[in-house]
Assembly symmetry: C2
Homo-oligomer: 201 residues x 2
């Protein structure tokens, strides 16, 4: 029997409640202590409802993180990476938006818990890299490729390295909490990665 | 009564056994599951011996990490940051040594477990930053200051940002395991941070 529209709406609501509960809880208790039972209780659904859709808590969190990243894109008002022709401006725009997310507990808490869990659990880390991180890095690479093709950055630029130069300092300061995450910081990263620090003689 | 030389030697041996056990165990089970009882059992000492010297497992691990960093310096054959006058060569030397440590389980496992724990436990993270990370970052800053004073890098270089540009990409690749950690990678970081990626017209 086909689902009625009402049943389908109820499913969507349950699904979203589960994903929201998973994100809240992983931020509160960390990945290791998170259980399917707790997610079900917080979402107000039965455990079996979760197991019908996902095989494990890692799978729930992966979908929850994808949904969260989608929300961030929508709230930030951009789909994909901006390309105004001005590479520095486009990179600054995206890195400022990234910093704003890192400074927002709604994004920070689950992202931090999952990054920490992935760092010490290689299988989990590989899953999150494949589904979440690599697609993001690819957007940066694509924008840098366009800039390279347009002769705006050196022909021999290793695009992956360039992405790591942009995101590495930000990730370092975010995870290790060594200093405040500001737009001035991300702007300076972009300027220095493009221009280098060596004195031009 | 003053300690006899024998008692003092026994103390040193116990102390070292405790630090070694703490490092091994945190790499094996992670920070959250580590207990003073388990460290005592692995080290072959009583729990009270540990509590006589350290108030908490965080304090044991902090001293253990400092001892490990000291060993690394000794094995690497350098005390402090090299200054040959050639900034790029000196940075490459130190970053290559850092990558070698990251690729060595003896250093990687405890450092990874503690970094992950500190990322989600602000008080623990702050303690490790103050005692372990900041003194390391200060060595890089000092070397870059000398280079700036010698006119080798731009006068307006933000030294802390420069350190983050050097170490951020390395930390990103290490923690997230996105790609192999090689000397070619760290050499390329140094070249690009010094020279930038923008095409010089």
């Amino acid at each position: 029997m086909a689902k009625t529209p009402d049943a389908s709406r109820r499913s969507d609501r349950s699904r979203r409640a589960i994903l929201d509960a998973a994100l809240e809880l992983v931020g509160e208790v960390g990945y290791n202590k998170l259980t399917i039972e707790a997610i079900a209780a917080r979402a107000g659904v039965g455990k079996q409802t979760i197991y019908r859709w996902w095989p494990s808590k890692a799978a729930v969190l992966l979908d929850a993180s994808l949904a969260l990243a989608g929300d961030a894109g929508t709230e930030g008002g951009w789909e994909g990476f901006p390309d105004t022709g001005d590479l520095a401006a486009d990179l600054k725009y995206v890195l400022r938006a990234t910093v704003d997310e890192m400074n927002d507990g709604k994004y920070d808490a689950p992202a931090r818990a999952l990054t920490a869990a992935g760092a010490t659990d290689p299988a989990l880390g590989a899953q999150f890299n494949e589904k979440l991180l690599e697609p993001q890095l690819a957007l940066y690479e694509e924008r840098l490729r366009t800039a390279r093709d347009a002769g705006q950055i050196a022909e021999d630029t290793d695009l992956r390295l360039a992405v790591e130069l942009l995101l590495g300092p930000l990730t370092h300061r975010w995870l290790l909490r060594t200093a405040p995450l500001t737009h001035a910081f991300t702007d300076a990263i972009v300027d220095r990665v493009l221009g280098g620090i060596a004195r031009v003689s």
